[in-house]
Symmetry: D2
Subunit: 303 residues, 4 copies
């Protein structure tokens, strides 16, 4: 494939690539659904076998993608219908236990606008662990309540530490039942920026996001279930050049094309990101929509 060094964090986009090439992959189940009234398209990609995982280049598990073209547009209720969808899917992925202890991790750099999604979600979250620890679940005025803690660990340039080290340390001390990690992702397609949410039970994987995490955050590395929630907010600088040129080169042989492209694309482009000019407002709104989805998930009343 011509995909070469070009990267996507969306399982959906990997799937589409195969479809383009008319390749069917065994061990991968796909289910699509379109809610016309809400204009939300839901695609569930289930990678069920080792073989499927290899072919898709990502871990076995469930990848739910919500595509809502209006998601990045202002809305009085901050797209409560999308918050509800997020909540429904996250609930289905949560461990089956009452009174869970949940650690929500907002990955990314709050100082770089398109990478601030994770920290912004944590800032909007209803944090309850300290109240429950002090007053018990009755302190919440409910019979059952999940205990929610939040962390925005920052990026390696800010801390000198791998995100993984910080999270693992905090987990050793606080022993959450499940981690929910929020990250700004890189998409391949500019059309998907800020309009797509991926929810997966496979966590967050290396090479994702605006900043690069060296190690994946998942059950293998953390010893606990990790639900990953990601929104593509940038495209790699090299991707947009690649795409335009691949189109142009359609007539060349695959092998020639690959070689040619790798030569043409300056490596420096990979240290660049592409993002829409109105990224500030968009990130704030998306963060709100997601945090409301999580707030709905953890407050019993909203069940």
């Amino acid at each position: 494939m011509a995909m070469g060094r070009i990267h996507t964090d969306l399982a959906l986009e990997t799937k589409e690539k195969f479809e383009e090439d008319n390749v069917e992959i065994r061990g991968v189940e796909i289910q699509e659904d379109y809610d016309e009234k809400k204009d939300i398209r839901t695609t569930v990609v289930k990678i069920k076998t080792e073989n499927g995982a290899r072919a898709m280049g990502r871990s076995q598990g469930v990848y739910i993608t919500l595509e809502a073209p209006n998601m990045s547009v202002p809305d009085e209720d901050y797209h409560r219908e999308i918050s509800k969808e997020i909540s429904r899917h996250v609930k289905a992925l949560l461990p089956d236990k009452k009174d869970l202890s949940v650690l929500v991790v907002g990955l990314g750099n709050r100082e770089v606008t398109p990478d601030a999604l994770g920290p912004e979600v944590v800032a909007n979250l209803r944090i309850t662990r300290h109240i429950i620890n002090e007053y018990g679940i009755q302190g919440m005025g409910e019979e059952h309540a999940h205990s929610v803690s939040g962390l925005a660990p920052g990026v390696m340039a800010q801390t000198g530490m791998e995100t993984m080290e910080i999270i693992r340390g905090v987990m050793e001390e606080t022993r959450p039942d499940v981690i929910i990690a929020i990250d700004a992702l890189a998409a391949r397609s500019i059309r998907r920026l800020n309009r797509t949410i991926q929810i997966t039970d496979t966590g967050i994987n290396p090479g994702s996001g605006v900043g690069n995490h060296r190690t994946g955050l998942n059950r293998e590395t953390l010893g606990t279930k990790v639900i990953g929630i990601g929104v593509p907010t940038v495209v790699d600088g090299a991707t947009i050049v690649h795409d335009a040129m691949a189109h142009l080169l359609d007539t060349l042989e695959e092998a020639e094309k690959k070689e040619f492209l790798e030569e043409m694309i300056a490596p420096s482009l990979h240290s660049m990101f592409v993002t829409p000019k109105d990224v500030d407002e968009t990130i704030k709104r998306l963060a709100y929509t997601i945090s409301e989805g999580l707030n709905m998930t953890f407050t019993q009343r909203k069940a």
Copy 2:
């Protein structure tokens, strides 16, 4: 030329384009200087005639470009040697009058990292107008002092107003002798991002920067001298595609090439910007270097 819709805010880059094409332009004077010790390259482009202005596609006046490859690298003194160069050039462009009243305008959107340069510079500035108005120049403990005020007007999506309207209004009330406007610019070349400072007595021109100002800020529109200080912090999304492809198409005829490129580059790319991943630290450092340059300019002791 193939430049088509592709845009640069740097006079230097326009000049280079002509040189590439082996075109000499009458009415434009160029002077280059390289300080090896400081590793600063200074290029002064003087557009002296109507004809030169037309050819260069920008107003008559002086365009000073400082190129310092290390500018975006951490430095204990925040590149004081560059601050001094900025101060030297700005002083030479200031009206010849003691005790000037100067309004420094930080253009751009503080919520979008690469567009926050202008507001950050104003935030670091030593503001003195209110002290001088209250206590006189003696209040500054000096015999002479410029009166410095600062404004970060925000962008149209935040205010609903043209930047020009806000500045013109403030000028009517406070009557400054000179405006210094700071803006994040768009460059053509990724190599120049965050390493180049342009200082010009022609103000800030339409189409500059991350956000677009509809009207230029210059003596014609504001009735007062405007010194523009700009740093390219982004490249237009379309530019990087354009450049890669133009290279590829070198063998085509100019006319064919232009048509081809305009067809290939998706218009949506123009609403995207490309910026380096470490843009947060870089912007903070650049803002500091520039504001120190201005602080040196307005405090007599530093003369």
Copy 3:
């Protein structure tokens, strides 16, 4: 009175002072209302004569105070019931004209948490002036629409300019029909902090707020109607000392007491402010409640 140099921005508190002293003031009409279900107490103070104005130490006009003890407590809908009340009162004060041009001014310093209320409100506002200017009212998809612009002018230490100079300048350029100015106020009573909203058709007055504006913003100084919306977020450092001590000194004669207090309270206390420790979350929530109230006011659908 012992009020001496101690200051309140709330007409309600001045009124209460008189009641305490059993003084009735001619020319001042008071109307109280309590909505038990919403737990909102509304007090309307109307100063109708010169004499009333003199006695109350503030301009003739209407002062509406909403007291809602729960206002500073988290709420899923950001206290939409209070937003609606704000909207109802602001609408009643607006000039009677379709398609108004409204300038919303967020006073205060966004870098000081309790003074950031005004800038935060403007940041949450639905700005429409630039859309209407470009596409007409049809651009809003409605038959009628108010044109909303917003400005956060900063404080004198940041700009070197009086707030008044900036606003007057912007008004000359954009000619709004009405100004709505939002400010963080100083209250006398700690009990009122972040639980009280004052809406008045007399604008914002000198000595208000965390920072001091030298000149009032009102029809006299700006030539246009100014609706002021204020929330007490701080108490003057001297006030809390004064109150504790006045209580202690109850047995002394008024004259003695005044003299004694003025001596005791260090002038430096007046450059201090007192604010609750959870001021960060509170300010964000209050800003959201108020901006939603304004958004409801200016979008016809919500009428």
Copy 4:
């Protein structure tokens, strides 16, 4: 003593209280020094015995206080002379080992201006651990280099976790040789706000700062040496009332006075803080001065 519930984080202020009362404490050594040229007063309080610790109400160890009246005033070099003093004292407290691994912890809430000191210091720090881990000490271009990591854990209302839990977790993963914890402190005296730096080898203690940490951060609780650096940025709301009134009540008997004061001071005052109106600029400057002091400490060149 009438100190009752009134609290200070400065050992210096506790010492002064004893001096006022003409009490001498065994086991406590005091050494004072005044540098007239720099206008810095240095007081070293050494608590050497159990008895001294009990009397002073704080742990055995060294408490260095730098008082510099000009510290909160703008200065072109951000008070490099104070940065140097900080560096000198911190170096003397560091474990005697080359190539130390240092974790700098910025305590406090970045959203509350006077509590943002710790996070701001970490934001200005030269972080090197990730570079040394990747490229070795040679990566720093030096023969010896300390490895510096940084963490701003946030406060319990933001995370649901005790600061202690987060730090202990991160330590388990990264095993630093020494912790340096920066915190905004509460002082008793308004005169000391933003002009005093306390450096101690006893860490950070409960009840310190704007927000309250339940557990101390010190060798006992963390198993590693903790150097605490604190600047008083607020006074407890109750303190200023207490002080004014204590003065007034000088003639009463101690016992009466204590009872009287505790009755008079409303408990709600303890959830309030008092801080100067220009706190924003001051915090930024102080953070810069301290982080430069630390940067000097960890870069060999500056030794």
